[in-house]
């Protein structure tokens, strides 16, 4: 019953988020601030992880291709498919559930504990719109982060494969272009769009409705991470089934 209550409360929160709007001039500033906090500040870690995971995927694939009949270009093909289809959209999103999600839950949760959300409500401000709407809009830029992750991941794969001596540069580039299906990119970005909404709203829900003090802010961040990851994985399965099967 509690899960049903929470799901209902989540959708009521979303209704409130898109209810009465905050003044446009104020909202504009908040959106830019959230883009900086949630998107720009995440680029460093996303680039770092993507580059090295791209490299690891390439090395592991290369070390498992012992049969001389299998062309080396398959290394690049495998790295490309892994990165575009799954690594960048899904696993980066799970990492972002930890980084962005805990940022959202703890910032909103702390405002709840410190009565700042009550202060907004007393002033007649739609606190859900003021706090959560700018985060949702900022997260619409999340597909750009994933595009960068894909590019850097493939660059990492090239660096590890070619500079590591596992595959020649020309073979790698051939493999990268082999059997490229452009819909796979569309699929990846559709997934990313849904993941962005999940990443913005589930942690926000856990922060907005949290009760208690500082200790509970920490607990809410952990719970938000767990639930965001669970929903991301389920959504990933559902969207893959709908779009690729």
């Amino acid at each position: 019953m509690k899960y049903l209550h929470d799901i209902g409360e989540y959708f009521l929160m979303l209704k409130k988020v898109f209810g009465r709007m905050t003044k446009t001039s104020v909202l504009r500033g908040l959106i830019f601030k959230e883009i900086d906090d949630l998107i720009i500040s995440s680029l460093g870690i996303v680039i770092f992880i993507s580059f090295f995971i791209g490299g690891v995927v390439t090395i592991q694939t290369a070390l498992n291709l012992n049969n001389p009949l299998i062309p080396k270009s398959l290394i690049a093909f495998t790295a490309r498919q892994s990165i575009i289809l799954e690594f960048s959209p899904t696993f980066i999103s799970i990492i972002m559930a930890g980084k962005v999600g805990s940022n959202i839950t703890s910032s909103i949760g702390t405002m709840r504990v410190m009565e700042q959300i009550d202060a907004l409500e007393v002033m007649g401000i739609n606190s859900a719109n003021y706090l959560i709407f700018p985060k949702i809009i900022a997260m619409l830029f999340y597909p750009f982060v994933i595009a960068i992750s894909m590019f850097v991941g493939i660059a990492g794969a090239y660096a590890a494969g070619v500079l590591g001596g596992f595959v020649a540069g020309e073979q790698f580039l051939n493999g990268l272009q082999n059997d490229f299906i452009s819909f796979h990119l569309v699929y990846a970005f559709i997934k990313t769009f849904f993941f962005a909404i999940i990443l913005a709203t589930i942690p926000a829900y856990h922060g907005y409705y949290m009760k208690g003090g500082a200790l509970e802010v920490g607990k809410a961040s952990t719970t938000a991470f767990v639930w965001t990851s669970v929903v991301l994985i389920l959504a990933n399965y559902l969207l893959t089934q709908l779009l690729l099967s």
């Binding site: 410190m114 009565e115 700042q116 007393v122 002033m123 007649g124």
Partner: protein
């Protein structure tokens, strides 16, 4: 003036407020006192419109809040200022930005006009030198004064304070009490203060509402509270020896 008529508030089966009838007067510091669990915070949140009463009405200058449509309720909310127990300042904003916040949200004034008003209000609470500081960089007493400045910057008709001097040293607490009383008189606003602090009761209690287990047990002012025979009030007010001695001295005319 705020008129409360037969106010009931329940959470599930538990009835917190049990038919309160009272008035809070304009230009006066109205205090709500009572033991923990008496229903003071729930009462204050009902007055603020954060809790919807289960039954009864609250009238603000003759307008019942529940009879207003959503837009008029929002308009009325904008005429309310609130000082929270923990100040509830926005950490990411400076003192001046915190005070300017209601003006940015609800007016279309130019930045210079807003800044002039912020300066005026900060001057009033004696915080001009701290205007560029962040809440974390100032003391608890200063944070309370910033909260008061933010509450009055948009010229409210009603000011609500939830334990405004809790956690402050006695000198700062008296300063906050006096500041609230002066602002109430200067601006002729209806101020309602939820407090435990007996110094506040004796210093600025122009209209005191005593709650006991969700019922209004007594109402009067700081002079009358010394003379009341109401046992619940005397038990609460004179629970410390110091106040017993103050009462005895008052009654003896010392």
């Amino acid at each position: 003036m705020i008129q409360v008529n037969n106010l009931h508030k329940s959470f599930g089966e538990e009835e917190i407020l049990k038919g309160i009838n009272t008035q809070f007067y304009q230009g006066k510091t109205n205090l709500i006192i009572g033991q923990s669990g008496a229903g003071k915070t729930v009462f204050l949140k009902c007055l603020l419109g954060l809790f919807e009463p289960t039954d009864g009405t609250i009238e603000y200058n003759g307008q019942a809040y529940s009879s207003l449509d959503a837009e008029k309720q929002r308009d009325l909310r904008q005429k309310m200022g609130m000082v929270f127990q923990g100040s509830a300042l926005f950490d990411s904003m400076t003192v001046a930005e915190n005070v300017m916040f209601p003006l940015r949200m609800f007016t279309n004034q130019k930045k210079k006009v807003m800044m002039d008003r912020v300066d005026e209000v900060l001057e009033r609470v004696d915080l001009q030198p701290a205007k560029a500081k962040y809440p974390a960089e100032i003391s608890g007493g200063m944070q309370k004064r910033v909260a008061i400045a933010r509450a009055i910057v948009n010229k409210p008709k009603y000011l609500f304070c939830d334990e405004p001097n809790s956690g402050l040293d006695p000198k700062s607490a008296i300063m906050i009490d006096n500041l609230i009383q002066e602002i109430t008189r200067e601006n002729d606003i209806t101020t309602v203060i939820n407090t435990h602090d007996m110094n506040s009761v004796l210093e600025i209690g122009e209209n005191i509402v005593f709650l006991q287990k969700g019922v209004l047990a007594w109402q009067g002012n700081h002079t009358q509270i010394f003379k009341t025979e109401n046992e619940a009030v005397t038990d609460f007010v004179y629970s410390s020896d110091l106040f017993k001695k103050v009462r005895d001295a008052q009654l003896k005319g010392l």
